[in-house]
Symmetry: C2
Subunit: 212 residues, 2 copies
């Protein structure tokens, strides 16, 4: 055990140095690099250096939105648990996740649809600028895409990183194609942890916590 | 979008069929297969087919423990959020995570140690059989190993799947070596999502929810 690195802050700094070193020749634009590196830090999976795609100016716009009090909506309580809610609150933001609300389950059962879809409809009614962080449900991402195309929703950013083998890749390609500001992990990979990591990367850049 | 698979249950069943298909010649013992497949389902990362190691009888013992009311301790609230607490409660179990407790932070600051270490010491005082699910902090895993070696702790199972670049691999090798029943993801990979997925795989086998 390398006891040279003891505190969580020291360990994190050393981890990012290792990631930068192993990325080697792969250098990312200044705005994007902290997001890519934090996702790799969260997963130890360098595939994300290749599969993460960013719409033009997505990171800057999302950071501005957070600075101005944007809220975050997740599709799972796990993603909500992983987001640094203290830092978000310093800008006036909150994290919402409606999927486990009892009345969402009731409505989904009544309408024979999924809780993920109903929870996104609820989120669309929030009267604040919103960043969506979707790490699990392709149906949630599909519902967002539908509402965006119908001009019922104009998110500040859609983080589209559901994980899985069925409907997942298609749901991501649709978000990329629909013109919304996005950060998407193309392919099968992603997860609630990845969704939370991307939100945290934005928050930490805003607080300049990370100088790496 | 392949709309043939619409409900979450249908999607999950089809996902496991794809995973089984892509594993091809790789066939795992009956007890282990549902755990390996659920981790791949959670991450879309087939590396886990190679890096997951199980001590002899670990899955059976852990399932017996849950059936008899064992509790689960996690190192992060994210892992806690991902565990199916309803099913665990049907057997009398609860999930505990002490790391964000204000008095844990106070004690860690006073003793100049980490919150992860203090939270594991708290967990060791629980007066019930315990399964530890560690997906983030190598220091938590190290502390467990220390208490096990000192015979201050005899867990039913240690799920050792912290993720990262510093101290992580060593902490896992120590858990493997110390003789405790374990499920460990060797190497850098893991995460709170993986820790939760392994607990859920045990729970779903107990409820025979998955026939795949």
């Amino acid at each position: 055990m390398d006891m040279q690195y003891k505190t969580p802050a020291e360990i994190e700094k050393r981890s990012f140095a290792i990631i930068t070193e192993e990325l080697g020749e792969r250098v990312f634009p200044e705005e994007i690099a902290p997001v890519v590196k934090r996702v790799i830090h969260t997963t130890a999976d360098f595939d994300y250096a290749d599969n993460l795609v960013f719409s033009e100016g997505a990171v800057r716009r999302a950071m501005d939105a957070i600075r101005n009090g944007a809220h975050v909506v997740t599709d799972t309580n796990m993603a909500k648990a992983g987001i640094n809610k203290k830092i978000l609150a310093t800008f006036g933001g909150e994290v919402h996740c409606f999927v486990a609300d009892p009345d969402v389950a009731e409505e989904a059962a009544r309408r024979k649809t999924t809780r993920s879809i109903v929870s996104m409809e609820r989120a669309a009614k929030l009267d604040v600028p919103v960043i969506f962080a979707i790490g699990n449900a392709p149906t949630a991402l599909m519902q967002l895409e539908k509402m965006i195309r119908e001009q019922r929703l104009t998110p500040e950013l859609v983080i589209g990183v559901p994980v899985g083998f069925v409907n997942v890749e298609e749901s991501k390609e649709r978000i990329i194609a629909c013109g919304v500001p996005h950060i998407v992990a193309r392919g099968r990979k992603g997860g609630s942890n990845v969704a939370a990591a991307i939100v945290n990367a934005l928050l930490y850049q805003l607080t300049r916590r990370e100088g790496f």
